[in-house]
Symmetry: C2
Subunit: 312 residues, 2 copies
């Protein structure tokens, strides 16, 4: 069975006349007759009864007509959908994330992407940064989100936004009552670092932050992630530094206080393969950049941390 035969038969069924069908299809009449005959032979069914005025559908012909229409329209659909997929408007985007990007950057991007390309399915997996690189190379994910990545051959690392830093302080301390706190005031509290492993990480950022400010500090412990770090702090007289994405959350018995005169901003980045980017990824990057741009503009205009104002 061939598509040509389906098209011919559908035209004949609708015209009720082989000659008119031929005219409509811009071919001569004999090919139509022959193809219909071939179709009838293959199906072992009489599809048309020949009348003086043209042809009538038999019951089998009516059944086949209805189905042939469906097949043709589904085939057309398949082509349209495939072309859409080629343009990156259809398909699935596999995303990995690490750490606190899940609180702000990732949902913001997903939201914007869904608005732009609602037909694209998205999968989201938590994944360490080294694992993200492997997954990218294996084609298991299209893009990874995180804060600090090592440059590597074939990888693009793209900065999305930078957020101000906050100190996370037990709510019952006097320090927690202020609007801002200078880094030097935190020297009295042991510092909890996070995450463990997968360097460079936010832990390194915190260390260099204190070093640059020339503030003595005491690393009390290293937590696996920010949630664990905050749980540690709430339980005692320790502190840590968090990016705004986390400070925007609320934790019991904890206050987040903006660090005074702090030029360091925590980056949100993404990583993807430099070459062979599938269309879905290209579409996603377009959306990502348009959001980043409007976020930057906003940052310039807003008093501080404009990135947050893009969300929601």
């Amino acid at each position: 069975m061939e598509f040509r035969q389906l098209r011919y038969f559908v035209a004949v069924a609708e015209e009720g006349n082989i000659g008119r069908a031929a005219h409509r299809l811009n071919v001569s009449q004999p090919p139509i007759s022959r193809q219909i005959q071939a179709l009838e032979y293959e199906l072992g069914a009489v599809l048309l009864t020949r009348t003086p005025k043209g042809v009538d559908l038999t019951e089998a012909g009516r059944v086949f007509y209805a189905d042939a229409q469906k097949v043709l329209s589904q085939a057309k659909n398949a082509m349209d959908r495939t072309r859409a997929a080629e343009r990156g408007e259809l398909g699935r985007l596999d995303i990995a994330f690490f750490g606190s990007t899940v609180y702000q950057t990732v949902p913001l991007m997903l939201r914007a992407f869904h608005r732009a390309q609602s037909e694209i399915e998205v999968s989201l997996t938590r994944m360490g940064k080294a694992e993200q690189v492997n997954a990218l190379r294996d084609g298991r994910i299209h893009i990874g989100f995180g804060r600090y990545y090592n440059q590597a051959a074939g990888l693009e690392i793209e900065l999305i936004s930078r957020e101000p830093l906050y100190a996370a302080i037990p709510a019952d301390l006097a320090l927690a009552k202020q609007d801002e706190v200078p880094l030097s005031d935190l020297a009295s509290l042991p510092v909890v670092l996070y995450p463990a492993g997968d360097r460079p990480s936010f832990a390194d950022e915190i260390i260099s932050l204190f070093r640059e400010a020339d503030v003595e500090f005491d690393v009390d412990s290293v937590a696996t992630d920010s949630t664990a770090a905050l749980a540690l702090i709430a339980s005692g007289t320790r502190c840590t530094i968090v990016p705004e994405a986390i400070a925007a959350l609320r934790f019991p018995a904890l206050e987040f206080v903006l660090i005074k005169n702090c030029s360091t901003l925590a980056p949100s980045s993404c990583v993807y393969l430099a070459e062979d980017q599938p269309p879905v990824l290209k579409e996603f990057l377009k959306v990502l950049r348009s959001v980043s741009v409007s976020a930057s503009v906003d940052t310039e205009n807003a008093s501080r941390g404009g990135f947050k104002s893009i969300g929601a």
Copy 2:
């Protein structure tokens, strides 16, 4: 786009390797490569990425693979369904009926046919006998049911069953109390005939019945159909003759009494075109005959009117 291309692509997608797909399809490798290329060109989409070990699907390729499978299976379905329609196992059967066949013969046949061919839709229309013949010739119906048909060229008239006759008598008369009544006893009551028009009809059967028994009778009136006739009888001191199909029903203030020593039986027949019978009709006739046969056998064994015992 051609079915061949869909089949080739599906095989390649499943094998992940053009050579293996070629082997599975029993063709050599170059045709597969070329058809896939043609497909990609027509779709304007890259479906496969060529790797050292074979090929991988792109996102567009995955989309097309899923849709191609659907198209192929739907096409196969269309062929199967059409073949089924050719065998008379699919489609619609248009039936007309006249008079009291609707009470017993028609529902019995429909029931048997539905059991045998549950995929076939049935339409049922009340239609005068002359109109049935026109509708058959126009192809508006496949078969008509009724009791008395005139032979005509191109028509087959097939007897389905014969039913004993009953007298319909007002319940308050003494005649109504008996198990059987001889025709001569009915001479005291005026007779209501039915149906009006569309000869020959059951009215003629009643007339010849009395004549053959050499019983004088008085035609009181002619009713349009059996229901009207029975309503007339219930209202006074008239009677009529009904076939068993009607006697099996219950009417208020009426009794149906078997006519004694009556050799006349009321036929149930059907009419259809002798030629160009669509498969659905042939299937229906098969079922009809098998039911008729088992009904006849039953008639021989049962004490009286065995046909009824087939129903329910």
